[in-house]
Symmetry: C2
Subunit: 412 residues, 2 copies
């Protein structure tokens, strides 16, 4: 079996072991076809923690246009004390106005009733077509079915139920050896590298049976999301529906104290998990051949961030990545475009370890060796700006013919 940790950029921590599947103790999940998707594929799922003392943390899209499920989960649930998540694919319930919010509230309430929970302890996630009313009857009918399907190994079905155009499932079950004992960590994620028409969301649901304080859960999720889903760019487009939820139910009996070695090790495992999932999002998608990583150092934080995003979102850089073309002039152009009026700018560029630009001036290098080096699945670019101190990275997809085909097709 291929390791889940397949990228050279995300080494598997030594204290982490991959499991074939299944949820941590005390969690159950299910996923079914409720009829939201026209093709009869799975489209509705629930993950629930049986322990009343479950704590949680969540992060949501910062888009100025929020889908109804994000509004409801953020503003009408107890984000620190979630015990369940209900999520559907096939319909994003976005740009659906007041009716959309009512529908998301009804979805939350329906799941809560079926699970005998306070609605405040249920989050809602949706992904799919924008601007079409949610088929609430089908959702609520599906909830009744889901109640009877919940199982400790239902994570696979749940992961399938949140897929839209994802070509590959994105989930993992990990055993994490902490100094105080073993805990389990699992996650189910969706997001296609090349975003499809009207399907433009990443959802990620994470479970652990470690015993955490709410603040620890929030801290760990915040730090690791910043290093994973916040560092990928498929096409520079921010979804109206992005949602990440971590639930920790303490069922392992292993208590993870703040500032402890346990916390550090759990954080490392969560970090690796989310980073690899983020890379899977960048790599998945119609026609995506390669992913790039741009590392930018020097300057200040605002500068490295602007440069990294400019390189990662440049259609010229993305096209070159797709074509296996080590075209450093495009990197230089993207750097300049991010730093207006900053000339003269004596900066360096290296591609796959080969320095091609030094202090703004092109170097002689072994063109054939560099040509060969950019044919792999992953290509790394390093940009060194004048000054020191700041550093960042962004992972990005290439730009393929299929992206244009898919997104130019008439679909409404």
């Amino acid at each position: 079996m291929t390791s889940f940790f397949r990228s050279r950029w995300v080494p598997k921590p030594d204290h982490v072991e991959e499991l074939p599947g299944g949820l941590p103790r005390g969690f159950r999940a299910a996923g079914i076809a409720a009829g939201v998707k026209a093709d009869g594929a799975k489209d509705l799922g629930i993950v629930v923690s049986d322990a009343p003392e479950t704590v949680s943390a969540a992060r949501f899209t910062r888009s100025g246009v929020l889908a109804a499920p994000v509004i409801v989960s953020r503003d009408r649930s107890e984000v620190g004390g979630l015990r369940a998540v209900i999520a559907n694919s096939g319909n994003a319930n976005a740009a659906t106005g007041a009716q959309g919010v009512d529908d998301a509230v009804a979805m939350q309430a329906g799941a809560a009733a079926a699970l005998e929970l306070d609605p405040m302890r249920v989050a809602v996630g949706s992904t799919g077509v924008i601007g079409v009313p949610l088929p609430l009857d089908r959702i609520l009918g599906g909830v009744e079915v889901l109640r009877g399907e919940l199982r400790a190994d239902g994570d696979g079905d749940f992961a399938d139920a949140i897929r839209t155009t994802d070509k590959h499932a994105k989930r993992a079950s990990l055993l994490v050896r902490l100094p105080s004992g073993e805990v389990r960590l699992s996650a189910q994620c969706k997001g296609a590298g090349m975003i499809q028409p009207n399907f433009a969301t990443m959802l990620c649901f994470v479970q652990t049976d470690a015993q955490l304080e709410g603040e620890t859960a929030d801290l760990l999720l915040g730090v690791t999301v910043k290093r994973s889903f916040d560092r990928i760019s498929v096409d520079g487009q921010l979804s109206t529906n992005d949602t990440v939820v971590l639930m920790a139910n303490g069922a392992s009996g292993v208590k993870v104290e703040p500032m402890s070695e346990d916390e550090l090790r759990l954080g490392e495992a969560l970090d690796a998990l989310l980073r690899q999932l983020a890379l899977l999002i960048a790599a998945d998608g119609e026609g995506a051949k390669r992913i790039g990583r741009v590392v930018v150092t020097g300057g200040d934080q605002g500068e490295v961030e602007a440069v990294a995003r400019s390189v990662a979102n440049s259609p010229l850089v993305k096209s070159a990545l797709h074509g296996g073309d080590p075209n450093w002039g495009r990197i230089a152009q993207a750097v300049g475009g991010a730093l207006l009026d900053a000339a003269p700018l004596p900066f360096d560029i290296a591609i796959e370890g080969v320095q091609v630009l030094s202090a703004g001036e092109g170097l002689r290098f072994d063109q054939r060796a560099l040509d060969a080096a950019v044919q792999g699945d992953e290509v790394e670019y390093v940009v060194v700006l004048p000054g020191d101190g700041a550093e960042t990275e962004v992972f990005f997809s290439d730009l393929s013919h299929e992206y244009v085909t898919i997104n130019a097709e008439y679909t409404t």
Copy 2:
């Protein structure tokens, strides 16, 4: 003959008449093949004004990575008193370090010697491959040839000499009827809608025989560039070489006083000229089928600018434009992505006059009529943000298969 003013977004001013070609009185130009381009096409040109009293104005790219010709023209020429421009295609003289600056200075000096001018009165422009030393010998040899070729109707050859991957020539010669008399206005421009590998520049050279003060030339050019070349987005990529130069030699004897009706009318003509040229850049390019115009009103200036750029640069929006898909969900998503943390955002969207979103909620509309409306060469999107006061527009290219093909091909 097709009118130069072919866009519904740029009506021809009534006091402007199109001429088949030729420069205003007192200007001469030429363009030849000097051997910079491998394929033997024209690649070196000069435009010169014979009048010592010529005034000028210029605008340059704001990229943090400036090509040598931009550095030399901006810092080592008398930007307000230019009498000539020398420009080449096939080599951008960018990322070429100190040698590149020396080469651009030599190119300036060579043209100045041939034209018997002070080098300070000669600007330099280059476009083409990045990071390759300029073939200075060929340039200087070409200058000798050019000296004997300068003609009042040499604008066509000059325009050809600055083309790289432009499929269509972009130039115009206009007769402008001012209250105080007739003047002529001409321009030669290059820039391909879909930027080619390593070729990523717009150059525009404008001439008039009106008699202007230097400040008037600068004012008119500044205002009209802001409304033309600053308002187009091909792929969100800023070149290292963008250059616009206006020269006015007074040979018509028609004096254009500041704040006069003459100035207003000349400004209108220049505005129409540069806007149509900018649209030609957006429309030109491999596979480009349509251009879009997004108009954003409401909010404040920062908001409308961010939203317009986000829509214009969205690969999802561009793909939909290419495919003739009136996919308003993508416009909504691009608006939200530009205005972080701004929810709730009750905004409106109209496509080709059909309102599809009102206060953030999708409307029912005649889908077939809208489908038909987005099949033309030009598609207009209007976004109305909450509040009032600000307004802006951006013109943009679609995203085509050919863009990916061209930019994924290995070319170095």
